[in-house]
Structure formats: structure tokens, C-alpha cells
Subunit: 411 residues, 2 copies
Amino acid sequence: MTGKIVNTNFSYITQKLEDVGLAVQWETTVGDDRENLLLAFTLAGQRADAVIVNGGLGPTVDDLSQEIAAKAAGVELALNEGWLGTMEEFFRKRSRVMPPNNKKQAMLPTTAEVIDNPIGTACGFALDIGRARFFFTPGVPRELRRMLEEQIIPRLLAKSGLQAAIHLKRFHSYGLGESHVDQLLTGVEELAADGSVKLGFRAHYPQLETKLTVRGKDMDDIRRKLAPVETEVRKRMGNFIMAEDEQTLESVILAELTKRQGSLAIVETFTGGLITSRLAPIPGAEKLVRRGIVSRDLGEIYAGVGLDGRPPAGELTRETAEAVAQAARRRTGATHALAVLIDLDDGPDRIDFGGTICLAIATADGTESRKSRILGGREWVRLGASEMGLDCLRRQLQGLPVYERIDFEKT
Amino acid sequence: MTGKIVNTNFSYITQKLEDVGLAVQWETTVGDDRENLLLAFTLAGQRADAVIVNGGLGPTVDDLSQEIAAKAAGVELALNEGWLGTMEEFFRKRSRVMPPNNKKQAMLPTTAEVIDNPIGTACGFALDIGRARFFFTPGVPRELRRMLEEQIIPRLLAKSGLQAAIHLKRFHSYGLGESHVDQLLTGVEELAADGSVKLGFRAHYPQLETKLTVRGKDMDDIRRKLAPVETEVRKRMGNFIMAEDEQTLESVILAELTKRQGSLAIVETFTGGLITSRLAPIPGAEKLVRRGIVSRDLGEIYAGVGLDGRPPAGELTRETAEAVAQAARRRTGATHALAVLIDLDDGPDRIDFGGTICLAIATADGTESRKSRILGGREWVRLGASEMGLDCLRRQLQGLPVYERIDFEKT
């Protein structure tokens, strides 16, 4: 309530519920205050079928959720011996003694159904207040997530009468805007005859996530319904799909390099190390990312990759990027070298501020390159150029054309 | 309401209000739905003195704030000719014609007081609903921020009877935890006799922001009250203060380098380019950050900075970091070189996963170095090591001891 913490739990919850076809109607935040909490629970119990309460289950005197839940439901609090035992075991496993004030976390309303928290001491629980079923969850994000996915969503789906099996298929792309993809995919939902597939998007520049939510009797039923839609989405979005489901652009690149026992050198200018820092810290990358060389000055880049002479004067060219990528490959002995060079516009940072990007990828088989222009302010250019560089590398590794026109570039 | 967007506006608003001594009691989020909006306005009008509404002022049919505000206040909507003119001028200046549906943004409740939006077409306004004064603000973050700071906060302060002049003094530090600094600063508030200075914190690892909110008759009064407290905070926090107010660690480093016409080379391992990417893209850094060299492999680092032979086997040492920093300085011709080398623990990422950091700073006057150990998981180590590297560089540039024990390191 002090603004110290941004409420990412709420957007997480709504997103997860949307993914299974449930809509959130109303959200309330109040501080750790008895009167406001009681009013909030009472109001929510009047208007909703189900309510998720997040936080207030900790051991301190500020944590009031159980107390006010009992009051709102008109029941007493009582010590739950089962949960007390679970907590004692939790501390014993970590060779610690349970502090006395943790006992408070096992005080639950008498009508509460316990919802297990396998990774923390805050006890989840459900009970009825007014006409709604309330689900109380811990504020710690990873504890909330696990409880929501494993225990609360199945209960909500059962309560809603929606079919129990739900599957979310995700495609990650770069280069096409949300409305463009929406238009490209017109009608794909109808390939699953009974309306059991729903299309949705989540845009987080520079990437777009395309989501298919599939509902069915069981996973076989879901796979059958999803198959024609999934195939059609892959066909229509084509080379723009960088990764699916849990994959990331970064993990796809590292897997391709691993497959061919390859290694990578990266040369950056205005991206300033961002491209390298997206790959290098990942487990396993220590064997794949051989070297990153960063400078805003092209002369310094020449020195860094061991190119003689001065860079050509005038406009940045693909040929310069190619020469830099080839030299970086020679200098480091990497099988692949990516060079992303950027000429920033002059002047102040504004929405029409842009940059010219010349990027090249050098391998044993030759060098591919691309020139592009991105407008939208310094940060927009920096993020876009880093994505474009990595996506072109992904394309090269997958044997796809490095150049395909994207929605974010101006020519 | 779909979770696609995290509500950072709310944490921004509460933070800003806290800064001037106002507390937020209750927050509600509802979708673009007439019934829910009307209920939310009515309930808020019953319990609050003032209500800030964010969003719903756009030109589309989904944007319902004016309509429902009028309904909740029991008044009509009418075209505000003044705002219509402002909007037409807004488009004219940008050589565009105003689309007809923007006219909707000038339809205001008849009792509304217009609140100017100098940077957008959404018209802010205030009116009474129930016992509360409502302030309607645009959802676009930069428009909201400007309207909140310049127009709404002064109105709220006037309404609350708090003194009109408020000033926020901020100190940015690294290395001391919030409770440690809280303890260090015990009693500083009392140095301003009349309770007009309030101490607060905002922790965003690895940095801590220490805030002094000062209230007074005018800025002279504020400066007089703040002076003894400010001096005492600087004395007690000492070298741990990296930056004040609008400054950042990065801007302080770049300013120090500029002052002495210096230049910088950076060598990174597990931080993977993060340190370089925090400095290099900043305007002006193109002249200061000469080169970044990144590799997870120490042998590759040796090759990158032109050191002969293989790195010594065994545990990472300060001497190795010193040799790397000195070589990077020689190789690039930079006046300053920072090397941050990290030996990561083996095994899976857990809360007790750590890394050993050896960092060195080489200059014409010699080389300083530091060895440290950070535990807390891969990402925690990566962020902590990047902060430690930059902060040690700041200390060196400011002539302060590079090593002072911090709360985040284990020895």
C-alpha cells in the first residue's frame, strides 16, 4: 500500500486465469488494517462467485488475513494441529527451531479447507464468505504461483463447470505487430470445430507472444483439437516464430550452437553489451559465447577485432559490418560471429529519434548481412536492435533467410 | 484487468503521495464496465475524502470515465468548448487533423473543474461524488505523472491542510541494508526540531534509496530545516552514498571521467556485459567508455586483453584481476580499466548459490583490487557484482577507499 512494491502478483493472477478462460471482474488493495480488510472481504463476498486474497498470512502482528477471514465468515479461529506439524517439519529439515510467533500461521478459521503450501510456512486455505468461495494465498510470489497453478485453478475450473483439461500453447515471435499477427491468423480458431481453441496475445516489445488456449476432456482430446490450429499458425507465421512454449530466443540460439559444437563472438556498439548479456550468463553459455567486444566507437571496434586501418568515413554500410564480423571470427576462433553496428541519429531523444543498423553474421560458409532502420527513441532502438541481431543469428543457425521485412523498421 | 499490463501507475501514485505525507487507504481496479465503474465510484465516494481515478479518458467507446463520473455525481455531460479548442490546437501543432472521435474527450460533467494536460489530449478534471473530491487522470504514465505532481498534489495538500511547501531529498547508496541504515540514522529526524523532516526508504536491490521528506512554509524554510539533517546523514552514511537526488551511479562515474578527460575499459566475466551496458548507451558515454571485453572464460579474457600465457590454475585471486585490468588499460589506451572477474559456485541455482568476485581498477597511478563473496542465487550474484564493480570504480574516481565491508558479502 506504500507503493514500495509494484503489485506484480495481481497481473500474474489475472494472466493465469485468462489463460484458462476465467475473467477477473474486480480487484481491491487495502493496507494491513482490520476495518478496511473486513469491509473489503464483506463487499467482495456480496458480488463475486470466487475471491482470491493475496498476502497477510505471515507470522507478524501486521498479518491479519486469518483473523479477518474468520470474523467475516462469522466463525472462530482454532489451532490447526496438522499445519503446525507441517511447519515444525519445515524448520526441522532446515536444521532450525521454529520461532514461537510462527505458530500464528497455523491459526485458521474453523470452517477453512487447508490448501497446501509445499515451499513455505504460510498456510493457504479456502472458506465461504457471503455467497463467494474465498481462496487465501501467500504474498511470496513463488509460493503464490505454485498454489495458484496446482491447487486453486483446478478448484475454480471445477466450480465454474468449465471442462477440467486446459492447455496453453505459446509462440514467441519478433518482427510482426500484434494487429498484424491477429490479421494473419484470422479464422484459425475455427479449425477446431467446437470453439475449444481461443487465440490471444501478449505484447512485450520487441517480442510478441501468441497464445492458443485449448479446452478439452483430457490431454488426448486437447492434442487432437490443437493439432490443426497449431500447424496453421506455424504455416502463417512462418520464419517469424523464434521459440515455442518454455523456449526463449536465447535458449534456441544456444541449443543450435551446442548441436553443431559451435561458438560465438559478438560485436556491439550502441546496444552497449546488452546482446552479450542476454546470452553469456545463461548456464552452459560459458562454453558457447566465446567473446563479446563492445564499443560505441567504430575505430575502437576495428582495434578490438584486429582490423587494420580506419573504418571508412561516411554512412555505415553492410560491408563494414561484414568486415567486422569476419575479423571477430578470425580473432576469436569462434565458428560464428555476430556484429551489430548502429549509427544513431543526432539530436535529442524523442519518439521519432532513430538509428541505422548494419548487422552481419560470419561463419565458415560465408557472411550474411542486413541493413535496417528503427525509429522510436533511444531505448526503443537499443532494445529493437538487440532483438534483431539475435533473431537474425537464430535465422542463420536455422537455415532461414536472415532478411525478411519486419513491421518495426522504416525504409 | 487482463494482466497484460502491470499497474505501475498505482505504485507511482502511492509513492508520490507518501513522499508528501499523504496515505492511500484503498485501491480498486475494475474493467471498462459501466455497472462496476458506477459501483466503484459510489463506494469510494462514501468512504474517502479524496479519490484519484486513473484511465478511461481516451477517445474510444471503451473509455467510460467521464460518462460514469457524471452519472455518479448526478449531473449531465456537456461539450467543453475550451478543451475542444485545446485539442484542435494540439493536432494542428503536429500538422494533423483531429479525428472526429477525439471530440468525446471534451465531453465533461457539467460540474467538473478542468485539470490541464499539457502533453496529451485526455482532459483531466475534478468533481465531487458523495463526500469525496474525485480527480480523473489519464492512463498514459507520463501524462499522469505530470498532472499528479503539478496539479493534483497541490490541491490535495491544500485540502488536507498540510503545509504547502514540500521537498524530497534523496540519497542513493550501495552496500548497507535498509535496517542497517535505519539504525545508523537513528535520531536524525530530531535534528529538525519541529518534526518537519520524515525519514523513509526504498530498497531496490542492489541499491537503497534513503529519503528525507521536509515540510515548511517555503523553500527557504525547508532548506533551513533540512540543512542539519542532510549534513548528519552524509556524515553517518559516508562513503556509501553513491549519488543524490536525480544523479545515478552511472551519471556520477561518467561525470568524474569527463572532469579528468578520462576514458574507461571494462572487462567482465559472469556479469556478461551488464556492467558495460549500464554505461555505454548513455548520451556522452561514446567518448568515455572506450571498450568492453566480455567472456566467461578466463583464457579468452587473457587473449582479449593481450596477456600472454594461460591464467593461473586454482582459486581466482586479486592478482589475476589486477593483471587483467592493467593489460586492458595498456591494450585500449584507456586512462582507467575495471576488471570484474567471477568464480561461480558449482551446482544448481538456489538461495545459497554464490560467487567469488575479484575486481581490480587500474590507472596511471597504480592498481587497486578487492576480493569478495556474494551469496543469494545466480541473478542476485550477477546484479550484486555489477553494482560492486561500478561502485568501486566510483570510489576510486572520488579518491575514497575501494574496500569497505558491505552487508551483502560473506567472508
